[in-house]
Symmetry: C2
Subunit: 419 residues, 2 copies
Amino acid sequence: MQAEIISVGTELLLGHTVNTDAAFIARELAVLGIDLHNVTVVGDNPQRLREALAQAMKRSQLVITTGGLGPTMDDLTKKAVADLLHRPMKLHEASLTQLKEYFGTRPIGSNQESQAYFPEGAQVFANSIGTAPGCAITAENGTLFMLFPGPPRELEPMFRNEAMPMLRKKIGSSIVSFMVRTFGQGEGDAALKLGKLCAQTNPTVATYLGAHGEVFVRVTAKGETQAQAKAMALPTVAEVRERLGDVVYGVDVESLEEVVINTLIKRKEEVATAESCTGGLLSKRLTDIPGSSAVFRTGLVTYADITKTRLLGVPQEMIARYGAVSREVASAMAEGVRMRSAADYGIGITGIAGPGGGTPQKPVGTVWIALATKNKCYATCLNPTGRYAGRNVIRQRSVGKALDMLRRCMEGKPVVPEE
Amino acid sequence: MQAEIISVGTELLLGHTVNTDAAFIARELAVLGIDLHNVTVVGDNPQRLREALAQAMKRSQLVITTGGLGPTMDDLTKKAVADLLHRPMKLHEASLTQLKEYFGTRPIGSNQESQAYFPEGAQVFANSIGTAPGCAITAENGTLFMLFPGPPRELEPMFRNEAMPMLRKKIGSSIVSFMVRTFGQGEGDAALKLGKLCAQTNPTVATYLGAHGEVFVRVTAKGETQAQAKAMALPTVAEVRERLGDVVYGVDVESLEEVVINTLIKRKEEVATAESCTGGLLSKRLTDIPGSSAVFRTGLVTYADITKTRLLGVPQEMIARYGAVSREVASAMAEGVRMRSAADYGIGITGIAGPGGGTPQKPVGTVWIALATKNKCYATCLNPTGRYAGRNVIRQRSVGKALDMLRRCMEGKPVVPEE
């Protein structure tokens, strides 16, 4: 089945919104093994939308639209699809009832009410967050149209809860997919280690470059049932893990920070952080995870040397002798925050994120990261590679490295390369 | 001039990369007043790329491609454009020289060397970051093709330095555009205040919804020269500022945090932060700005009540009496971090970002934000509105509010609504 996405919205053509909806849908379709071959963005312009829909109907079996369903858009997308398919618009009573509930005692304008009308024959997708429902409708040539609202927090649950089961059923054969996530090796190295696995056909194995030092490996199997597909996929997942070794931080997990927080919760242990160049990004990523408050009580951003001394007890002489960006100071920060917050683990990060502040001995991009435990303090240095990658890249990579060191430590894996 | 973007890359169709390039280019084109009417994403597939290019050439006067220029892609995009325009590929000596410099003593493979070949008649754009140059080439029907590499940090400087001057020249008439940025009012309120300004034709005035409580107003003027266009735009910019009042935090600035950091630097003042539910996001956003280390020495993430007491001196009795999420505790956090770090300003944030942790009295989404100065402590409460918007939205909004309070305070504007 060939699919395409049509994203509707002038805000996308003005660059005020980045098209994250298309990326979300692309990932979901990949899970099902559906081949996405085009994404088209058009503005809130009826004629261009009609052209895009007509072209899509000719070449694709599945056409997914996002946006153009809200009351301010005058329901552009539904009308365009209804016109293309020569269907009248019909009132969907249940949607009107929900709309009335949503508005309570406030009056509903006709532009709001239009959200309860759909092309005849459409199956309506309820919106659990906002006011505009989505829908699915099959054209006479067999092309399936699926229409979704644009806001990601409305689209995403609707897509997962309504579209995915419908698509799974339509595909017939069952597809199961696992994502093995790694930190700290290149995509080329991963491909080398996986070798012939990448050439298999069922299950298939494919590598993807994630952000900031992460590489993902997707294993996808097709079978007659979910159980059969899963049974086919699992041995390959195990082999991928085996071949890649301890760079694997999880399978079907959301992020490195999620793994770290959940492992800490399981172990009933706590971490505390002391950050210089990453300026709170590490604590921000840890606290992105709901429930992190149970295992993360204290984070310090000690940008100034005086703060490192006062809040963390890093001796002034040490900073003077080795410099604030050094193994010694990173370690003292990690130990200091661990001791003073009575945590099980302390992390210290100190470096030069740039663009200014570099020296010939310590160029921009030099970052020392330390992990203190009850018995030991590990430290490692990220050195600048190639041209300056920018402040954000250096900060994200450093935080990734710190999280991965803690993950490795809790799993009993080597924390830093042998010295 | 009608423009369209063709983004090339299977990674975009798999959802592993979000199409930020298209959003960046869209914003740049908007500045020039060039009408972007389509974005198309195709995979690394020669036939679909050719189809997309041919369609674009028919309907657009400017076609911008991103991606498909690197050595692993076998220079898909350049070849497809050369074929479409019936131009042979020619070696560009200067690019080959640069490539050799980049690789130094390492050998250059033929796939790498292909990056120095371009369709005959192309003007080459040097790549200051990576290895693949871009280029511009005009078809016989007058359509201008501009080809860029996919990685944002390569594309963005190339677009700004090479494409923008070329496009400005091509447009002939000069266009000047200013972006007025506001925090803390809705797009509807802004449009009401702007009234008839939004219906003007030269300069034009348009509102855009930014993220997390921000609304932007773009003023664009067209004239025979840059100076003339600017002179036409400025009175309207002043009127927009006047009508919107103190929600305006800057014109043509990057972000609220940039304004705050630069104002602190100018005033030679310092801020310190104490965060609970935002978990370091405030310090992260402050330290996103290069040079922030001069005015931001200390940030504390005091997730646990015990940490609030120990690091900030918030009395345990106060937490017991009013709760950790209260005006009193937020204010004590702000005062505590200000005093203990000897800063001019202290910010305290405490709230419930969810999804768990709410009570009937203090539902998820309740966040207290306090700003302590030498003489006074301001505090305000963000209350949950409508359905749960998610942890990230609540955290970003709270940090935006805190930054805006500090901005208002330094500008002598009302910091919190009168009570």
